[in-house]
Amino acid sequence: MTTRAALLVLADGRFPAGGHAHSGGAEPAVAAGRIRDAQDLADYCLGRLHTTGLTSAALAAAAAHGLDPLALDEAADARTPSPALRAVARKLGRQLMRAARATWPSAELAALAAARPRGAHQPVVLGLTARAAGLGPEDAAHCVAYETVSGPATAVVRLLSLDPFEATAVLARLTPALDRVAAQAAAAAREGIGALPAASAPLLDITAEAHAAWPVRLFAS
């Protein structure tokens, strides 16, 4: 019953799950001068995709595959040393849960919402949402991998007034890497929770905490 169109609905930037208020760490990277142009954005997105992107995509694929969402939520905590990023993941997970239960209601989503009323990690919720929508583990991984790079790209268009055509071209050039990461994530998910990757990025953890304490910022994370 897999339906490709459901993936378009779920991956659409207009899916009302709160992503628009987050830059995926791009705001502090812009402020530190590490992202100044489209090439920097491409490097940033590639690094984020291969670290937190792969880790999150695998969590989502595992949830879509039917692994225990609470065990995955715990695994996500262990993979997220930054409390600021854990808070963001749970906040976005809660927002996605609301949208998911209105769009593809399922008993599994309801059970996770009841077990984690303050929100489960967003990739876990996304995996369960994909499952409720009739999508597979690799679809869920694709969706998360894409969010990992589309969030910063959209934010950098606003932060640097970067040409939106250039930003979208960056995303287009990343698509082979996105496909590889999604396939890798789905393969790991099939091996079970012990095989899930834990790739991390030091700068993302370091700057997330500092950014969370900025008194004035455009993006929530």
């Binding site: 760490g25 990277a29 530190a32 590490r34 992202i35 920097d40 490097d43 940033y44 997105c45 590639l46 690094g47 984020r48 995709l49 291969h50 670290t51 792969l54 880790t55 715990e74 695994a75 905590d77 262990a78 993979r79 040393p81 930054s82 409390p83 600021a84 854990r86 890497a177 990757p197 834990a198 790739a199 991390s200 990025a201 030091p202 700068l203 993302l204 953890d205 370091i206 905490e209 500092a210 304490a213």
Partner: protein, 254 residues
């Protein structure tokens, strides 16, 4: 010719308020020495022999076990330098560290830096299994390339379980064999020294440590559970050690 070696350390209370080492097994390039401990009641072991290893294809392992109530420090005499193997097809070297700490035990794992030489390839795995009342201080420092040379390929994974539940799971991958973007603005931003300092202490359950920024390239983050991870980047090994020493000082009980 690649080397396969496993060194073993078991620490146990000696019954007189100090810690004995019923097992202290050197193997191949991994030579272990009992050295004088600065702290009373604690045993100290220094790894003296791994300076020229691991080479490509080597499989090295250190297994550390601290039994209930034991207090053990393990350090090293010099930095470990990962070098390319003589054979072209030697494959990556592996270095596995296993740490087990029983009830009330404390392990301080404080080796010198791991230096990743040009054309080397190393997979380093550190796994710690902690009893709920065990304490752990663990420092890892990765230096990407000797002075002025490009780095080799390094993959590390640090997995810590406490009371059988995951506390921390972190994978880092750098160098020409790593996926794209490892040196870019999301991951290293051009820094050549990367460090982690992990402190697990049941006391944090009562008195949690707040997240603290330690400057533009270092942060102290409380984990979900009684642990704190310091993540730091620096241009070189000396500046990195400075950041981690400062963090360790901050986290040491007064």
């Amino acid at each position: 010719m690649s080397v396969q070696a496993t060194a073993r350390i078991t620490a146990a209370p000696d019954g007189c308020g100090s810690t004995a080492l019923p097992v202290l097994e050197s193997d191949g390039p991994l030579a272990l020495r009992r050295t004088r401990s600065a702290a009373a009641g604690r045993a100290r072991v220094t790894v003296v022999g791994a300076m020229s290893a691991p080479l490509g294809g080597d499989r090295l392992a250190v297994e550390v076990r601290a039994e209930a109530g034991a207090r053990l420090t393990v350090d090293s005499a010099a930095a470990t330098v990962a070098l390319p193997g003589a054979a072209q097809d030697a494959g990556p070297a592996s270095y596995d560290i296993r740490i087990e700490a029983g009830p009330g035990a404390e392990v301080r794992w404080l080796p010198e830096q791991l230096v990743c030489a040009h054309r080397s390839a190393l997979t380093m795995t550190t796994r710690a299994e902690l009893a709920p009342t065990a304490r752990l201080v663990l420092r890892e420092e990765q230096v990407l390339g000797r002075h002025g040379e490009p780095t080799g390929t390094l993959t590390t994974r640090l997995t810590v379980h406490r009371a059988g539940r995951p506390l921390l799971d972190q994978q880092l991958a750098y160098g020409p064999g790593a996926s794209g973007g490892w040196d870019g603005p999301a991951v290293l931003g051009g820094h050549r020294a990367v460090g982690q300092l992990l402190v697990v202490d049941p006391a944090y359950e009562e008195e949690p440590v707040p997240p603290t920024s330690l400057g533009p390239t270092a942060v102290l983050t409380p984990l979900t559970g009684p642990g704190v991870l310091v993540t730091a980047l620096a241009p070189d090994a000396r500046l990195l050690r400075g950041l981690l020493d400062e963090a360790l000082e901050r986290l040491s009980p007064r």
